[in-house]
């Protein structure tokens, strides 16, 4: 395992995010967006070959499809049909781990994909809508990817609209425990976090090379639990970079984080 010295932040994030899927066993890995999709693909190609994946349209694949336009003679490794209605049979069975990029994530791990500002009847900014976030969040493990870690995403207070359930005792449904909620990792352009702090407080898991815990806190609108020892996010290996390049032949990953910075910013 030769560690790379020359790698981009996007590649570092893909490798870090792929760890979320490493020990999941035989579940559907859904990565929405280029970096989460490549993270799931990398895990399926390396650490967890039992993962399941769709082609983002209607078929399950035995091998992930490369991102972007593929050659005319490309044959996807289709293994079964998985239209949108059947996706919910999988979601509600719990055998899935989704990695998504909401617009807001609050201190309880609740997220917002729907609307910002104004009133609910007349929001200042209408976004996508709740999509599948409510069902995902109460049915199976979820992780988040945030390409720009700042206090607008990790804002003070509660999300303007709560699309997904989090560790908020005030909203806990009757008969449920906070431990029923399973938010795994939050991968950002600065660090990796989870909700493993005291009382499910957000916790720093690792900082990316050249980033300090103080920078993470400055860019987060609520307190981050910082353990005594915070490791640096592991650099990609040459083998991992080779798989990423194979899965992303058009280098779409280069357009995912502003200015495509290097992975090591020290």
């Amino acid at each position: 395992m030769t560690t790379a010295t020359d790698y981009t932040l996007a590649e570092l994030c893909i490798v870090a995010a792929s760890q979320a899927f490493a020990d999941e066993g035989e579940v559907l890995a859904t990565g929405i967006g280029v970096i989460p999709r490549l993270a799931a693909s990398l895990a399926m190609k390396t650490t967890n070959p039992d993962l399941m994946m769709t082609d983002s349209e209607a078929w399950m694949l035995s091998e992930p499809n490369p991102v972007g336009k593929r050659p005319a003679d490309f044959v996807p490794a289709t293994e079964s049909w998985m239209g949108f209605s059947q996706i919910f049979d999988n979601v509600w069975s719990g055998k899935r781990h989704a990695m998504l990029g909401p617009t807001q994530i609050d201190r309880w791990g609740q997220s917002n994909t729907s609307a910002l500002g104004g009133t609910y009847e007349q929001p200042k900014v209408m976004m996508l809508g709740a999509r599948g976030f409510p069902g995902n969040s109460i049915s199976h493990p979820n992780s988040f990817f945030v390409p720009s870690h700042n206090t607008r995403v990790f804002m003070e207070g509660e999300c303007d609209f709560v699309s997904s359930i989090g560790y908020n005792p005030a909203r806990l449904p009757k008969g449920h425990s906070l431990d029923d909620i399973d938010i795994r990792y939050v991968i950002t352009d600065l660090c990796v976090m989870d909700f493993g702090g005291p009382d499910h407080q957000i916790r720093l898991v690792s900082v990316h090379p050249g980033i300090s815990a103080a920078q993470v806190q400055e860019n987060t609108g609520y307190p981050v639990f910082v353990p005594d020892v915070v490791p640096t996010t592991a650099a990609p290996t040459q083998a991992q970079l080779a798989v990423i390049a194979q899965m992303d032949p058009h280098n779409q990953r280069a357009a995912q984080i502003k200015d495509n910075p290097p992975g090591d910013r020290s």
Binding site: S85, L128, R131, G132, G135, S163, K174, I181
Partner: protein
Amino acid sequence: MDKRMTAADVVAQLEDGMTIGIGGWGPRRKPMALVREILRSDLKDLTLVSYGGADVGMLCAAGKVRKVVFAFVSLDFIPLEPYFRIARQSGAIEVMEIDEGMMLLGLRAAAWGLPFIPTQVGLGTDIIKRNPDIKVIDSPYDDKEWVAMPALHLDASLIHADRADARGVCQIAGPDHYMDDWFARAAKQTFVSCDELVETEYFHDPAQARLVHWERSATTGVVPIPGGAHPTSCAPLYGFDVPHFKAYTGSAKDEAGFQGYVETYLGASEADYQANVGGLEAIRTIELPTY
């Protein structure tokens, strides 16, 4: 039984204030020719139930909509639907915002004659807080609370299929029929536009019959309109029209707004519309998207 009709016949069956389900998903296989016929009509105060895309956006922009039941309204590759945003941000429409899977359950409940289907989806979120009509109930079998997703009763559904026969056997040959079977079953009347009208014998081949997702008793009317999903996709026949969608979303920033889009493209008939977008042959050559 001959269920063939025209788009104008379909709109004549619709009334102000009705709840209309629209099949497809975002920019994919929407019954856009039927939507355009509504744009040409004086119908108003509609409640839409849709995995929404430009169908919802256009009807909102044209002032046809009182309420939208939605989990998202998006063109996928253009994430935010411009005219739905304008409608929301101006407070012009009521909404019932739910999860994608809750919509499926609501359609199933309507199809099966149930008042609701219990689910844990929506618990702990603003879906239940912002929808006082969605009740949270106790279970007779455990100590948990559950969301009682109410039936989404539809006065009519509009769907676009690849092929249909005159008796209402409808085929969706693309990789996904989305929730269209449930839209067909949840509605009092279901009107299906199709790219191709075929003889019943076409379905005697089991490989073709396998791509029929609801039985013909759930189809009220069949409207042959080749290219009728444009600018959305109808895989495997054609993809979605990216330049057209860009012109459509761009119009929201122009002074003329949606009226400018309408004047450029809509025309007095589907033939006019297709002439304005380059003709059926051009539609049929639009490349399928890569996901």
